[in-house]
Amino acid sequence: MRVTDALSGALFIAIGLFIFQVASGFPNPGGMPYGASLLPRILGAGLMIGGGLLVIGDIVSRRAAGAPVALAALEPELKSPRGLLPAAMVLVLVLGHILLAQTLGYLAVSIIGLTLLFLSVRLSWSASIGLALAGSLLCWWLFAGLLRVPLPRGLLEGFL
């Protein structure tokens, strides 16, 4: 998504304000005048100033240009299902790993998610399933087998 500097600037002002606000609640141990809140507050202030400069710069250049520009614009690719579907499938795969991998196991989530992603970029059913199987098993073998990363076993608990 493309937004004008005025909008992103406003967003950074908000983020800066949030950081400043939360940080102001940090305790200063030992009654020191500076502590855990010092740097976050400086950073929050910095973000507010930076955001402000973005907003001002945008308004100035817009006045110079004269022509009105939309505040935000979506990439053309994301306006049609052609682009939106693969992007959604990427999110499904990632979220699947976050939410479901503990119960279903790495392999199940990876095989299903990858198949969906391959299908969404218009590979055939057989190619999608084949590649998803091969890719998932390869990752499992490399990481869980060779590198001993504790990928969740899920349903396969007790088998592997």
């Binding site: 305790p27 001993r148 504790p150 007790g158 088998f159 592997l160």
Partner: protein, 332 residues
Amino acid sequence: MTDFTKPNRRGLLLGAAALGAIGLNPARALAAGYPDRPVTVVVPWGAGGGTDATARMIAALLEKRLGQPFTVVNRTGGAGVVGHSAIASANADGYTLGIVTVEITMMHHLGLTELGPDDYTPLGLMNADSPAVTVSSDSPYKDIAALTDAIRTSAPGTFKASGTGQGGIWHLALVGWLKALGLEGNHVTWVPSEGSAPAMQDLIAGGVDIVTVSLAETKAMVDAGRALNLALMGAERASSHPDLPTLAEAGGGDFALATWRGVCGPKDLPADVAETISKALAEIATDPEFVDFMDGRGFNIEYLDPAAHGAMMAGADVAMGDTMRAAGLVQG
């Protein structure tokens, strides 16, 4: 569910065969039925540190004895909270164990977590190290009595000490020692550092006056002639440093403290699983390979069986709470 038993039993037989093949006692393994697949050993501290090295050694020796891979997994951060939580919240089936360190008796007093020693099944304490009072070799103080006198007569904040983060175990060592001398806990300013190595560097560079960390951590600098151990904050002398007096012996105050590392599982581990592991740990504690390793690193082996391990942790928890309250580190 019946489907699950078949491959399990086959796996078990295979495992037993494998155990028999490498000359271990298959009868015991069969009786326990554990472990029949890889076991994860969670370490709450980073790769490369002392706890990590100890854990990897113990894991390798457990693997040798029990015939299944024991995989070390580092779950770091949050002053140990992340890793200790991971051990406590794992399935109590014996396939996730972990190294529980002294911090488990500290972090709930700090309000960082609810977890305490009760949330684990103790399987055996493997190691305990007391810190030393160490100064730079450029320091005018060559023995603990001189340093103690100087600290007593100095204005608060004159001396600076370091060794770990704010509220860490070595910070408590300093505070406890100062209290034993009848001084305020902040009479010597604590300069937080990210571990013992930066603290030792700062000591040599002249940034701080005293470091209170374990002997293993001061070893390189002391051997290099750049730092000097003055006394050990232990109840008795360390076997690796028989010439180094304890605080009490050298007239530096009556105070002792230790950091320790033990193997634990989540709460309510099945009794047969706990027995298998604790038996193996008892053997490892006297295994020459383990002894050589610990000596090489300058770590003190201190084995306690599960019952004693649990009692020690419970006692340490109370004592630690008192020390931290006295030091004003407990908030609220």
